[in-house]
């Protein structure tokens, strides 16, 4: 199954607001083993110049991958979901995500390629605050392995 190159540039409506709370950030910090109190203690975060505790850098994927499901749900995107693996991930942080943020994700399709029987789909998610402040650009390449078992 080959993806239609005409999908490149397609963008989707902004997501619902994703509220970021201190508890989920502390849980994420624990799950990746970070102990820096700037993720856990609002006083320490403020002393470091942040309005509240900040997220570890890869937390952005929790918001962006959730939002990017809008692409996999698009009936024009014929990816065999059971064969999809994460190929590449990139973040450009405009500022740290922090507790209290109300984030909106806007997803678009950046690239579509076919390599060695595998379909490669690159999505870009712009995370902004509700007020439009740029927070993070998250770029994800998904690989749908071909039915012939091509390497991924």
């Amino acid at each position: 199954m080959t993806l239609d190159r005409g999908l490149v540039g397609r963008s989707y409506p902004p997501s619902a607001v994703h509220e970021v709370g201190r508890v989920v950030l502390a849980e994420f910090a624990a799950a990746v083993g970070v102990t820096d109190p700037v993720h856990l203690d609002p006083e320490v975060a403020r002393a470091a110049g942040h309005p509240d505790v900040i997220a570890p850098p890869t937390y952005a994927v929790v918001v962006s991958l959730g939002a990017a499901n809008v692409v996999l749900d698009d009936p024009d995107v014929s990816l065999d979901y059971s064969r999809v693996v994460h190929g590449e991930q990139r973040f450009a942080h405009h500022r740290p995500i922090r507790a209290g943020d109300r984030l909106v994700a806007t997803t678009s399709i950046e690239a579509v390629r076919s390599v060695g029987g595998n379909d490669l789909l690159t999505t870009r998610v712009e995370l902004t605050t509700e007020d439009g402040e740029a927070v993070c650009t998250a770029t994800t390449m998904l690989v749908a392995r071909g039915a012939d078992g091509g390497a991924a």
């Binding site: 989920v24 849980e27 994420f28 624990a30 799950a31 990746v32 083993g33 970070v34 820096d36 700037v38 993720h39 470091a48 942040h50 900040i54 570890p56 850098p57 890869t58 994927v61 929790v62 991958l65 959730g66 059971s82 693996v85 994460h86 190929g87 590449e88 991930q89 990139r90 973040f91 450009a92 942080h93 500022r95 740290p96 770029t139 078992g149």
Partner: protein, 138 residues
């Protein structure tokens, strides 16, 4: 914490991160990624994997720690990218797997940013490629 010297060629301290099945369960909950290949050997082997594998994003997060815990400022990591190569297979025992992260400052720009190239392995095999972090130098 004292700030490290950041110059081209500076090597980061090698880091080794153990990853157990319990870590995968905790990461699944925190990230909301409940794909069964990260907790069910039955499902993992049915799709052709050797067994349960770590979330790629957990490996990416551990590699980021090698950078942020070296610079001492998680907010200074402004760009970060990886390509997921081989999976990290996590056996169902107390030791689990190990993710080993090495890093080296590849360039220091006039814009107050430095690029760090990371080498990330497990069981001697490279699991991430093109793993690069850009940090703002204080």
């Amino acid at each position: 914490m004292s700030r490290p010297e950041i110059a081209v060629g500076t090597e980061l301290p090698d880091r080794t991160f153990p990853v157990t099945r319990a870590d995968l369960v905790r990461y699944a909950g925190a990230s909301k990624d409940f794909n069964p290949i990260h907790w069910s050997d039955r499902v993992a082997t049915a799709v052709g994997l050797p067994g349960v594998i770590a979330h790629g994003m957990l490996t990416m997060a551990l590699a980021a720690r090698a950078v942020t815990e070296w610079t001492g400022d998680p907010a200074a990591l402004v760009e970060y990218q990886v390509r997921f190569g081989r999976p990290v297979v996590v056996p169902d025992d107390d030791a689990g797997a190990e993710v080993v992260v090495r890093g080296r400052v590849a360039s220091v720009g006039d814009d107050g940013r430095a690029r760090i190239d990371l080498t990330v392995t497990s069981s001697g095999e490279k699991v991430l490629s093109l793993a690069r972090a850009v940090v703002r130098i204080p």
